[in-house]
Each structure stands twice: as structure tokens, then as C-alpha cells.
Symmetry: C2
Subunit: 204 residues, 2 copies
DNA sequence: ATGCTCGCCGGAATCGGACCTCGTCCGGCC
DNA sequence: GGCCGGACGAGGTCCGATTCCGGCGAGCAT
């Protein structure tokens, strides 16, 4: 318990604990006397009664006071993020595989990606909606469009090559998706550069 | 598909499937064409549309028709009971450990028992309520009373010995629990035999 | 005296609610 | 065909309330 926190109104930790404020995550910890568990202030489990808890300035202090770490919020881990380390590690790896490795391009499916991550495709989908706000295939599509835009700006490759290199399975899909995102067909996005081309960088 | 089941009203399997009738469990199986899965009629998942399923007389017939067994209701298992084989196997083992081995006597706890079964004590509790209608400790208490009653009828042991041998941790608890179950103290239950005892079966 | 029963009492184990994660299957959509 | 999201269950974690446990000591009968 922190000394001298009863006077002059309410300690900031009080409110942070009540509201599960992520801004205070890792700045202090809550020990529950009835269960001997200590939590982060963002822990999703139902909160105990105020009279049953005490505030602690660090995980080490909580351990020293005889509390064990909560199995849900993992207060003993070092890094604090908007959500759990487990879920975040999984989805961050998934995003990396999609964006950098093109795990969903070509014949790669969401099921295959989920298998690589050790979870079901349904759960991978849920994680994307929760932590990324979009579905796996939507993230893959966005990544493909970004890659295509880059090739469009920086090279003079023909459209069919750009579509294939960006990860699209066909020129048809490339045109359709690109048009939907940029409200303009791919050739229109390159026009400003191709008005006065110095020369064709590729072989005829 | 069973031949000749369209005419003369409704086949019994139709109703059994709709109502998930446990009485027909194992008597027939349902193949779902859209997913290639075959189920028992008690399967808890949402039921597919009637037009998407076909009835099959055995698990072997379903496998031969190209369906794979459902992972929820486990139609490929041989024995059919009111509930799943997994849950039943676990709780049957738990009951055996409690009644035969006295897993909850002495210093044995529900937590330790759950650990031996590979689940949490909370879930073990849930399984007992669902499949047995009583909590683990209640089953243990009943078993202790049964053992004590047997010793009471068949031996002339003193009360303290009976209490300990039956698995009670103290004479105090033995008296209290026995009285609550039989509405009479232990000595009263032995009185009819001890009115005219042929002889004491134990050494003096 | 010895053995059995029972009220009292503080601490520990149990009980059941609330909430969460994840798996499985399904119909609808593209 | 794959992707999407709804429905629902299994199982895990924490929590407050309740019950259970075992020792102590007092009656009571043999």
C-alpha cells in the first residue's frame, strides 16, 4: 500500500483502476487480498470490491507482498501494449506473413495461414476484427494494392507484370480492386509520370 | 439415402433428428452435403436445412458415402450415452477415484483431483453437476457415509475407528454427516444388531 | 472412567456466477 | 470454390458467498 494516499481526494490510480485505463497499464498493479492474485489495471476479469484490493507500484513489489501474477492479464511480463501479449504476438506475426511474405497471395488460404499460427481460421478472423478492424483477406488486399501502387509509381512495368508481382492472381482482379480503392483505373494513376517519359526502362 | 422413405408420411428419423431425440442416438446418422460432415442426431451444433442433409443407417455407411465424422458429437465412437464419450470418461474416472480410492478423503482436495484428470476444478465441478447431479465433495461425502454404514453393520469397531476407516478426518464430522443423512446418530443405527449379538466378531 | 454425541468457532475449501478464449459447424455471400 | 460472421458449446480464470472442516469442551449414557 502506498503511504499517504488517503488524504486530499482520490489517487489517480483509483480512477485508472475503475475505468481499466490503458494509459496506466504497467504503471501500477492491483493486489487482491481474497485470492492472492495481482493484476494489471486493464485485466478483463470482473473487478473485486474496492475494500479487498491494494495498490502496488511494481510487479516486484506485488511478488514481494506474496501475490502471484494473474493468469489472464500476465502482469509479470515486461512489455505493455493495448492488449494481451499472446493475442498481439499471434496477430502481429499473421500481419507480417500477409504483408511481407504474401501468405494470402496466389493459392495461400486463410486456413493455411491459421494452421501456421496454430489456431483455427475462425479465431484468426476474430483476432483480426478485434485488433486490426479488418479481415485477413482485406489486409492482404490492401497490401497488394500498396505493392501495386509502388510498382506503378517507381517502374515502367506493364500492367500484367505489376498485377502478378503485387500478388494479384489475375489482371482482371488487379484492375477491379485498384479501381475500387483509388476510384481510378491503374493506368490513370501512372499518367502524370508517363506524360513525358525520358525513355522506356524495360526491354521492348 | 434410404430408399422408399418419401411416401406414406414421415419417417421416424425425421422427427428424431428435429428434436435431437437421445433415444435414437446411434440408430442412424445425418450427413450434411454442404460440409461433408456426418453427425449423430443429438449433435449440439445448429442444424442444417432439411434439404441439405441425408439419413444414413450407420457410421460405416456415412464414411463410405464420403462424409467425415463431426468433431463435436463424435459419431465414429462405438458407445452411445446421454452425453459425450470424452466428458463421460473423465467424470467416470473421477467418480472411481473418489469412491474407490478415496481421492477426496484426508487431505485430498478437489483441485488435486482435477489436476490428476487434466482439467480445472471449476470444470470438474461443472461436469459433476451436469452428469451426476451433485458436486464432487457431495459424492465423496456420500461414499464415506456408505463405507461407514457398512462398517457399522458388519463390524463391532468403536466409532472413532469407523470414522477414520470410512475416510472421515475427524469423529466430529462423522457424527454430524451421518446424523444428517440418516436422521439418527451412528450408535442408533447399530442398536438393533447389538441387542442380541451372537458374538463380537473382532478381538476384545 | 470410558465412550458417544453435539454446540460453538475460526480458518480453509467449496460452490456457483460472470466473463473470457477458442473450437466447430452452419448459411450466406462473392 | 473460399471468405465471412452467427450460433453455440467446452473449458479456463477470477471472484464473493457459502459451506465444510476439525479441534475444543460440555453433557450424557454405560
Amino acid at each position: 500500500m502506498i503511504a499517504g494516499m488517503e488524504q486530499d481526494g482520490e489517487h489517480p490510480w483509483e480512477r485508472a483502476w475503475r475505468e481499466r485505463d490503458p494509459a496506466f497499464d504497467g504503471r501500477f498493479f492491483i493486489g487482491v487480498r481474497t485470492t492472492g492474485v495481482y493484476c494489471r489495471c486493464v485485466c478483463p476479469v470482473r473487478q473485486p470490491f474496492r475494500c479487498k484490493i491494494e495498490f502496488l507500484p511494481s510487479a516486484a513489489a506485488a511478488e514481494a507482498a506474496g501475490f502471484r501474477p494473474c493468469l489472464r492479464c500476465r502482469p509479470e511480463t515486461a512489455h505493455f501494449c493495448p492488449a494481451w501479449k499472446d493475442s498481439l504476438a499471434t496477430i502481429e506475426r499473421a500481419v507480417w506473413l500477409i504483408v511481407a511474405e504474401g501468405a494470402l497471395d496466389g493459392d495461400g488460404t486463410v486456413d493455411a495461414l491459421a494452421d501456421r499460427l496454430g489456431i483455427t481460421s475462425r479465431h484468426l478472423h476474430r483476432l483480426f476484427i478485434r485488433h486490426w478492424g479488418a479481415t485477413p483477406s482485406a489486409v492482404a488486399r490492401t497490401a497488394r494494392v500498396q505493392r501495386a501502387k509502388r510498382l506503378l509509381d517507381m517502374t515502367g512495368l506493364p500492367m500484367s507484370d505489376i498485377a502478378l508481382r503485387a500478388g494479384f492472381g489475375s489482371l482482371r482482379r488487379f484492375n477491379a480492386v485498384f479501381s475500387q480503392v483509388y476510384r481510378w483505373p491503374p493506368s490513370a494513376m501512372r499518367r502524370p509520370r508517363s506524360v513525358s517519359p525520358p525513355h522506356r526502362p524495360t526491354s521492348p
